[in-house]
């Protein structure tokens, strides 16, 4: 295959057009970035080319020849493979079984599984991607996030007998849950696929990645293709401008008020099941970063303040008292929490915005609920966080990722907390909404609220934090002041050595 053209992609849901006459040209051996804010039409576009949603209009040509794309089967037959951020691997099964999940497993006597052959084939599939560190016999549940993704890619790569090699890989925000090193590993695999002549469509919100690994970029805004350029000839600002229609850049809102003098949390010699020997204190109004490679204990450190992760040694004093015993005690003492995964841990997707925002604050109303004043309060909060919704009764599940995150923020801000715990607050959020969320974090800090910010987004850590504590495998290895640091400097600190 030399080229793949998707012409005139159009799709409306009801009367609302989600995609209008978009044309996408992909070339073999090139990585094509697809960018746009949440709700710009990226997911719709992917669904159309995956054949899972019927297009109102679409023609597909491979090297000038028409391709029918009416179902998911057609897409597979055409050699298209899709890797989503929500990984569809079966954690209970082995790596090899996952790789061959949709295929027939090699058999012995037509009855028993030929394990040796299966593992051999799986190893081969992994090796074609340059992956040698994953044992095909291991249970997928025991693997790290990136390794699961690599397994998923390997499984996408495996062709059934008589099937062509895949010619297109669509990666939908593959690095959303990955740390920088893990991302590197994924990029190496992408390079390999590329060199073997596949076309790659790469969806991401992360500008650095796009600049680094992509050759071409197409930007969608409100369902229209507003830009298609070679990455080498286009600036970040131009891309952001195309996405948002305004100039934002990687800019972070500046601190408006000095960090307070009083200390709001002190951690001394603290250990838990996951954490070893953490020592730090956080002052009022300070934005305190928590960083490290993925799964180094960031989430556990944040959850310590909620009473979920239990202290086994040492001391934690927060807002003048001992550590709370449960999330409900934490919230009632002015500790607000924004979890890592808003869909599974943050929101009741099928319930209205009002109910989602006021969930931790129901005690304010006593025994009887008052819908009128609840609605009033939810409306004020929605305005404050610049929520874009049809009203406070709209189901949260209908909102874009950025707006869902604003609902979670509104919930945290409603109680005027004194300590705000953030775990990946801008994960999967588009550039425009990101900036608005940063502004909210700054605003909280200016009101004297201490903020704990666990994040894998390095520019975000450097742009917002006053100090950053770095964890490695649960151990606090160092503390840095971001002033004058580059992302590379920060990343280097993630690899702690005795000599350093």
């Amino acid at each position: 295959m030399q080229s793949l053209r998707f012409v005139g992609l159009s799709k409306s849901y009801g009367s609302a057009p989600a995609l209008r006459d978009v044309t996408l040209e992909l070339a073999a051996g090139r990585v094509h970035a697809l960018m746009g804010e949440n709700g710009a039409g990226k997911s719709t576009l992917i669904k159309l080319i995956a054949g899972v949603v019927p297009a109102d209009k679409m023609t597909v040509e491979r090297d000038g020849q028409a391709v029918t794309l009416k179902s998911g089967k057609d897409a597979t037959r055409a050699g298209f493979r899709f890797i989503h951020q929500e990984l569809n691997v079966v954690p209970q099964l082995s790596v090899a079984e996952n790789i061959f999940l949709a295929r027939d497993l090699p058999q012995r006597f037509g009855l028993l599984i030929n394990w040796r052959k299966l593992h051999g084939l799986a190893r081969e599939a992994l090796e074609t991607l340059g992956i040698t560190h994953i044992d095909p016999a291991r249970q997928v549940g025991a693997l790290s996030t990136v390794d699961r993704m690599l397994v998923r890619i390997a499984s996408a790569l495996v062709a059934a007998p008589g099937e062509k090699r895949p010619c297109l890989y669509v990666l939908d925000e593959p690095t959303a849950a990955l740390s920088e090193t893990e991302s590197e590993r994924l990029f190496a695999v992408i390079q390999r696929l590329k060199s073997e002549g596949a076309a790659i469509l790469y969806v991401s919100h992360r500008m650095n990645e796009i600049m680094k690994i992509c050759d071409d970029v197409t930007v969608l805004r409100d369902g229209i293709g507003v830009m298609t350029e070679k990455v080498a000839t286009v600036s970040r600002m131009a891309i952001i401008h195309a996405m948002t229609g305004k100039d934002l850049g990687d800019a972070f809102p500046a601190r408006t008020k000095a960090v307070g003098q009083r200390v709001s949390a002190v951690v001394t010699g603290l250990s838990s099941q996951r954490l070893r020997d953490a020592n730090f204190s956080v002052r009022e109004g300070e934005i305190f970063g928590i960083a490290g490679l993925s799964d180094a204990g960031q989430t556990e450190l944040v959850q310590l303040f909620l009473g979920i992760e239990k202290v086994t040694k040492g001391q934690l004093v927060v807002l003048g008292r001992a550590v709370p015993k449960s999330p409900s005690e934490a919230w009632s003492r002015g500790i607000a929490y924004i979890p890592r995964d808003r869909r599974s841990e943050g929101l009741m997707l099928r319930m209205p915005i009002r109910a989602n925002m006021l969930l931790p604050h129901l005690a304010d109303y006593g025994v009887f609920a008052r819908k009128g004043s609840e609605t009033h309060r939810a409306r004020d909060l929605a305005r404050h966080v610049q929520l874009r919704a049809t009203g406070t009764e709209q189901s949260v599940g209908d909102l874009s990722g950025g707006n869902q995150q604003k609902v979670v923020f509104a919930r945290a801000m409603a109680g005027t907390p004194r300590l705000l715990l953030l775990d990946e607050p801008t994960r999967g959020v588009d550039v425009g909404a990101k900036f608005e969320i940063y502004t909210l974090i700054r605003e909280m800090s200016a009101q004297g609220c201490s903020v704990l910010l666990a994040s894998s987004d390095l520019p975000e850590l450097l742009g917002l934090c006053d100090r950053i504590v770095i964890l490695q495998d649960g151990r606090q290895t160092c503390m840095v002041v971001p002033e004058g640091m580059t992302t590379a400097d920060l990343l280097a600190r993630f690899y702690w050595q005795d000599a350093a």
């Binding site: 449960s326 979890p339 943050g346 929101l347 009741m348 319930m351 969930l359 931790p360 129901l362 609920a369």
Partner: protein, 319 residues
């Protein structure tokens, strides 16, 4: 528009069933006497289903309500047989209902057993206890105080309104009172908001500071009390108590809530929708009995209707 049709489909179903019986049974069905009779027939199921709605809002359910109803009736009956006053028997039965509910809630919320397994276990336990206390026999006759049985036959006379000799049964009124209480609890208290939040996403509710365990435990307690009330009503109605008389309640109560859930915007249980579900089951039962339809066929029909309603709703909400 389509959602509205889907949501009101079950209500139209009820209306269609009523019209069908009104045509088939022109003499007897749509009479004040029969309607009041239906209201009394369904009152026990109604209370069980209303309080079942409370746990089902949280995506939990309680399989033990039927045997709890039997147990509560037997406890009251046994105390009556030992010459305890009526209030003592009633209070003890309600206490047993609450204790059983708390036990269910403890197993589910604190021990962490799936509601299906936990309440399947307690179903058997409560049933065994009821047999143990009653010695497997029916407590009846002189053992049951006349005033206790009299409650089920009492009511508010409608003589002044042109319905000579008719009563609005006390049992029906009691069901209405419980309906009101459950409605206020679910729709107009912060406690109700918490229940729906847990049903919406239990993990999110926990992380947002809800005391999920306590709320779950208390909800099971309420369902247990509801079952005990239904058991007492049964005992009063037949002026006797036996260890199996509540056994039909559980499946019908869950079916009624499921029928009602087809009317929710997001398929969530609402107590007023549960009422529609109870009415469908009650009217069908009454009408088919009057038409002399074999009781086995009646069961097949009722099962089929529950499946059809839920299936239509499931297909309708798919997009």
């Amino acid at each position: 528009m389509r959602d509205m049709l889907r949501q009101s489909g079950t209500l139209f179903g009820l209306i269609a069933i009523v019209i069908f019986f009104a045509v088939q049974l022109p003499e007897t069905f749509l009479t004040a006497r029969n309607l009041l009779n239906i209201s009394q027939q369904i009152s026990m199921l109604a209370i069980t289903a209303f309080t079942m709605t409370i746990v089902m809002v949280m995506n939990d359910f309680d399989l033990s309500v039927g045997s709890m109803a039997s147990l509560a009736g037997v406890v009251a009956g046994a105390l009556f047989a030992m010459d305890y006053p009526i209030w003592a028997g009633v209070l003890a039965a309600l206490g047993v209902g609450m204790a059983g509910g708390i036990f269910n809630g403890f197993l589910v919320a604190y021990v962490g057993i799936l509601p299906f397994v936990a309440t399947l276990g307690t179903l058997t336990m409560f049933s065994g206890l009821a047999f143990l206390i009653s010695d497997g026999k029916t407590i009846f006759g002189r053992d049951i105080p006349a005033e206790f049985g009299g409650f089920a036959r009492s009511g508010i006379p409608l003589d002044g309104l042109g319905f000579e000799g008719l009563l609005v049964p006390s049992l029906s009124l009691l069901a209405l009172v419980i309906l009101f209480l459950v409605w206020v609890t679910l729709e107009h208290t912060t406690y109700g908001r918490r229940l729906y939040a847990i049903g919406g996403n239990i993990q999110a509710a926990y992380l947002a500071g809800l005391n999920v365990r306590r709320v779950r435990l208390s909800a099971f307690a309420l369902t247990g009390i509801g079952a005990a009330v239904a058991g007492l009503m049964y005992a009063s109605r037949v002026a006797s108590a036996n260890p199996t008389q509540g056994s039909g309640l559980m499946l019908d109560a869950i079916a009624a809530v499921f029928l009602g859930m087809t009317m929710g915007r997001e398929g969530e249980p609402r107590v007023l929708s549960t009422l529609v579900g109870v009415l469908i089951l009650g009217v069908l039962d009454n009408g088919l009995t009057q038409m002399n339809v074999d009781s086995y066929i009646r069961e097949i029909l009722i099962g089929a209707i529950v499946i059809a309603a839920v299936a239509i709703s499931a297909i309708g909400s798919r997009r």
